[in-house]
Amino acid sequence: MIVELEASAEAGPRIWAIGGGKGGVGKSVVTANLAVAVARTGARVALVDADLGGANLHTLMGLPSPKRNLSDFISRRVPSLAEVMSPTFIDTLWLVSGAKAMLETANPNYSQKGKLLRHIGALDVDHVFLDLGAGTAFNVLDFFLAARRGILVVVPEATSVENAYFFIKAAYFRKLKRAQPRQQVKAAIEAVMKSDDRRFVRTPRDLMARVMTVDAEAGAALMEAASTFSPSIIVNRVDRSEQSRLGAEIGSACHDYFGIHLQSLGVLPNDALVRRSVEERRPAVELYPQSPFAGAVRAAADAFVTRPERVLP
């Protein structure tokens, strides 16, 4: 179902899902600023707070807590997602505020999730930015995989890098699990792991290569699943020049280890004005357009709008 949505999304908005495993790396701040920067180019943008446990995008955007939010839609108090979109300080930017911490909405069931994704895909906008929660819950992974492009936010700290790999691994294996035909792929993987070949299998990429020799069709299905898993990465809070290579380096390691292409979307400098903008409840790209952070956000946003072909696999 989710895969279908991805395929049919050509006609609808481009959906960008921002996740990253670890809390506190600035996912929401980065998402809000990217959405504002894209909206400022004249594109129509919906910013959806899909952090179903701890939503606070409205605060970052300086908007009052809206009367209606995502939980009204999920619990069917309002029939369409468009009805919970609030206007913002930009004509072409709307906010779908997140659900207040409610356990039942933090864990939507399969059909609720599908409905939400269908409605997001049907919004009458050019771009949708989905701010996902922290962690690697299936909800987060499914939204991440359903998007046109999943974007990971990391900071140059060991804990963040570690969590980014947890996240990539989890999303990657969830993606591979859906590889069709499922039984055949499963049987081929088991055959590899039972044979003497397993000592050659040290990385997921090795596994795919070995499955290919056991069952070409199953191997091709795995390769196909892996090749369509192509997340992007943004390195946030960069202080030193050598840290600006981190995105490309993680990309190289992902290529070696998973056999996937991870694209580096840019580097956002550690900028004291960002903290101040959060205190002032206005995205830094609006409040401090001349700041190094704002410049870097606009450069990254440029990749979404004017060079969309560059962010496609």
């Binding site: 140059p156 060991a158 890098v161 570690e162 790999y165 040290r202 990385t203 960069v238 202080d239 030193r240 020049s241 050598e242 600006s244 290579r245 981190l246 380096e249 993680i250 190289s252 390691a253 290529h255 070696d256 280890y257 400098p269 550690n270 900028d271 190094p292």
Partner: protein, 176 residues
């Protein structure tokens, strides 16, 4: 270069047919990526997987270039002989608001640290540390990085009010 397989070129992220200089650069990059403690692969691999990955990189290099890979210097402890011992400075420290770079140098030497030792703590290349100390604007990176470096150095040296020192530094070198 005929023994190289498709995977070898892929592993070094090289276009088939790349020259030796490109292969050497790729080797250095790949080795740095899989060094123990490398941030970009933090906890991605087990220790034995990491060693195996480094071996694979060397094997790919061998097949591509037909040459034995040069010794991996980055994996060995820094050569103590190459280090110049730090001499304690004489005289009072320079005024940090007028000569922030010289002030950092004074603070470093007062603690008996060589550039290499400070580099090991701050992870800033010793060459760049030297450029920062002499305020060589032409060789410095963008202001945001300079600020980060100065903060990092000041904190490593235990300088009071690192933020103010960084502000003095940026005001002095006037990077945009």
């Amino acid at each position: 270069m005929s023994r190289a397989r498709h995977e070898d070129w892929q592993l070094l992220e090289l276009e088939p047919g790349a020259d030796l200089a490109a292969a050497n650069r790729a080797l250095r990059y790949r080795r740095s990526l899989y060094q123990p403690g490398a941030l970009a692969t933090y906890n991605l691999l087990e220790d034995d997987e990491r060693v195996r990955m480094l071996e694979r990189i060397d094997e790919a290099y061998r097949r591509i270039t037909g040459c034995e890979p040069p010794p991996d210097r980055s994996s060995q402890p820094a050569e103590a002989a190459a280090e110049t011992p730090a001499k304690a400075p004489s005289g009072p420290p320079p005024d940090p608001s007028l000569e922030p770079g010289a002030y950092l140098r004074h603070q470093r030497l007062a603690r008996g640290l060589s550039l290499e030792q400070l580099s090991a703590v701050t992870k800033i290349r010793s060459r760049l540390l030297a450029q920062l100390e002499v305020e060589n604007v032409a060789e410095l990176p963008a202001a945001v990085f300079v600020r980060g470096h100065v903060l990092q150095i000041a904190r490593a040296l235990g300088v009071d009010d690192a933020n103010r020192l960084a502000a003095h530094y940026l005001a002095k070198v006037k990077l945009d």
